[in-house]
């Protein structure tokens, strides 16, 4: 995978999680800012997934299917979390997105691990 892009997505997920949690801690209902931040992270993840998917066919990874599942998960979890969080606006919406961001972060880290093992 691409080191800098992976690092950027990991940092972005971490920042998004912190942002969401801070809204919940402050008792604020998430608004436009969090939605935009979440979709910006999704865009970054989509770019990474597209590049990684193309490259994954050129190499032999130890667990190719697992890698591809993580790839799909890394892109799909946050949009679902955003929909779920905003469907019932409350202070907990930020925490819901934080859960999605942390799960995405773990998926990206696992992808990194599998990629490093294969390269």
């Amino acid at each position: 995978m691409i080191g800098t892009l992976a690092l950027a997505t990991i940092v972005a997920c971490g920042v998004l999680a912190a942002f969401g949690l801070s809204l919940t801690a402050a008792g604020r209902v998430p608004g436009r800012e969090l939605r935009i931040a979440a979709w910006a992270v999704v865009a970054l993840l989509a770019v990474q997934a597209a590049i990684a998917a193309v490259r994954a066919f050129g190499v032999t990874l130890p667990e190719q299917s697992t890698f591809l599942i993580y790839l799909v998960v890394s892109v799909c979890v946050l949009p679902i979390a955003v929909q779920f969080a905003f469907a019932d606006p409350s202070r907990w919406g930020g925490a819901v997105i934080a859960v999605g961001a942390v799960a995405t972060l773990v998926a990206v880290l696992r992808m990194q691990g599998l990629w490093a093992a294969g390269a």
Partner: protein
Amino acid sequence: MREPRDHREARPTSTGAGRVLVAVYGIFALSATARAGVQIATKFSLAPLAYLLSALAGVVYILATVGLASTRPWSRPLAWTAVAFELAGVLVVGTLTVLDTGDFPDDTVWSVYGRGYGFIPLVLPLVGLWWLRRTGRTGSTGGTGGAGPHPAR
């Protein structure tokens, strides 16, 4: 009597903080099921028991997620059953894997009380049971509300 109306009857489990719980359950449903699917599809013969257990855990997480997220008459019993089963599962499998790793050569979600997942599998059912109890009907089931005010816990 002076209590807000919504404290007398069961509250939906998927509102407020419950949405965070549903989100975590959803993530575990996804990861446990996907993991079991890959394990069974690619290397089932290596550790059939562990992989079947992974699949069972995935199904339990799916049922718990559905039970907690929906508001049908069957939702709450389903959630209770699934979350209680999950707690039993993580305790039994966790204990077995601590005592003897022989039967579980490959990790499952519940191995060593969910160590591979930051022990969240151990904490999650406890939080789930607490939330179900907290949001649950304050009187006994089938009661007509004659039990009187009862502080929500």
